[in-house]
């Protein structure tokens, strides 16, 4: 599976792997996610339809795919009512850092266990862990659908 990974995707994975390997304090990971969350731009409210909600997340996470025939462009946003779900938003932003603007084949070539391997799940609450798994699952589902569409 690793052999099929494109150079661009490989560079992204390496960058994130190195980033996580460099965390010396347990809080570093959370601070990194906070930074990603703060830097992440939300999405147009008009796009926030129920069909784009990721099921299984504690917060309301929207993932909107846009396929241009070659690459999938994702838009993601998280709403938490009165709270500010920065960790969830950061997790979403991290997933997009890997999968956004990539061809379906590139996405499907990545082993979703990548995030486990870099230690993302360590210390992550079960709810967030499940939410993140649902998000990644949805990304792969979109990738499979768009990959099938391009084959037709």
């Amino acid at each position: 599976m690793e052999a099929a990974i494109s150079e661009q995707m490989n560079a992204r994975l390496s960058e994130i792997r190195e980033k996580f390997a460099g965390f010396s304090d347990p809080d570093d990971k959370w601070k990194f996610l906070l930074d990603l969350a703060r830097a992440h731009k939300g999405m147009d409210a008009a796009l926030k339809a129920e069909k784009f909600i990721i099921q299984g997340c504690a917060s309301t996470m929207y993932l909107v795919p846009n396929f241009d025939g070659a690459k999938i462009h994702f838009e993601m946003d998280v709403e938490g009512g009165t709270t500010n779900p920065l960790i969830s938003r950061g997790l979403g932003a991290l997933a997009l850092k890997v999968y956004n603007d990539m061809a379906p084949a590139d996405i499907l070539a990545v082993d979703p266990k990548f995030f486990q391997d870099i230690g993302l799940n360590v210390g992550l609450s079960p709810t967030r862990s499940n939410g993140f798994a649902s998000l990644v699952k949805q990304i792969y589902l979109y990738a499979r659908v768009f990959a099938a569409l391009t084959k037709k």
Partner: protein, 189 residues
């Protein structure tokens, strides 16, 4: 443009005086006027006031934030002994969203604590689902057992909470029936 020097450098002024032949021992006479006008002084005072005030406000906000988080932390520690307090812990941390300044370390703490409570809520939701399954099967005793054995905080939201409360009532009726049955047994003998 604002200037303390009214658009002139002291050297320009000295040069002008030298050109006009005004000298002291052959050297240009140095300017002797005030360093700045009263308007400039007021402006400077306002700037200093803003800086000092801003710093004081920042310190106040920081202290207020630290105190609020310390109170939430104390509640969290207390909830370790008495799980029913987790609802209060959540309310306390929810109130911190109004704070103007929260450091990254405290943000991580808040996110993790609220995440932990969200996990507890989900666990309670699972228990509620199990209790409902038992009720659907007509096993009121099993449903009652699930809710009575739960010692955690009530973290469910309105709809789920009403369902939970209904099952608690069923559990109480069940317990009353059991008690009545036990009380009636010796009399029957």
């Amino acid at each position: 443009m604002f200037s303390f020097l009214n658009g002139k450098s002291p050297f320009d002024e000295a040069e002008e005086r030298l050109e006009a032949g005004e000298t002291v021992n052959g050297k240009p006479k140095l300017p002797t006027g005030p360093i700045m006008g009263w308007q400039d002084g007021v402006f400077l005072l306002v700037i200093i006031g803003l800086i000092v005030g801003g710093y004081q406000y920042y310190q106040y906000v920081k202290r207020n934030c630290a105190e609020t988080f310390a109170a939430c932390d104390a509640l969290y520690v207390a909830a370790g002994q008495d799980a029913s307090k987790f609802a209060e812990v959540e309310t306390c941390y929810e109130a911190t969203w109004d704070l103007a300044f929260v450091s990254d370390t405290l943000e991580v703490l808040r996110q993790n604590r609220l995440g932990e409570i969200e996990d507890m809520r989900n666990a309670q939701k699972d228990l509620l689902a199990n209790a409902n399954v038992a009720l659907d099967k007509g096993d009121t005793a099993a449903a009652a057992k699930i809710v009575t054995e739960y010692k955690g905080a009530m973290l469910l939201y309105t709809g789920d909470k009403s369902e939970w409360d209904e099952i608690v009532k069923i559990a109480e009726i069940q317990a009353a029936k059991e008690a009545a049955k036990v009380a009636a047994e010796p009399a029957a003998e």
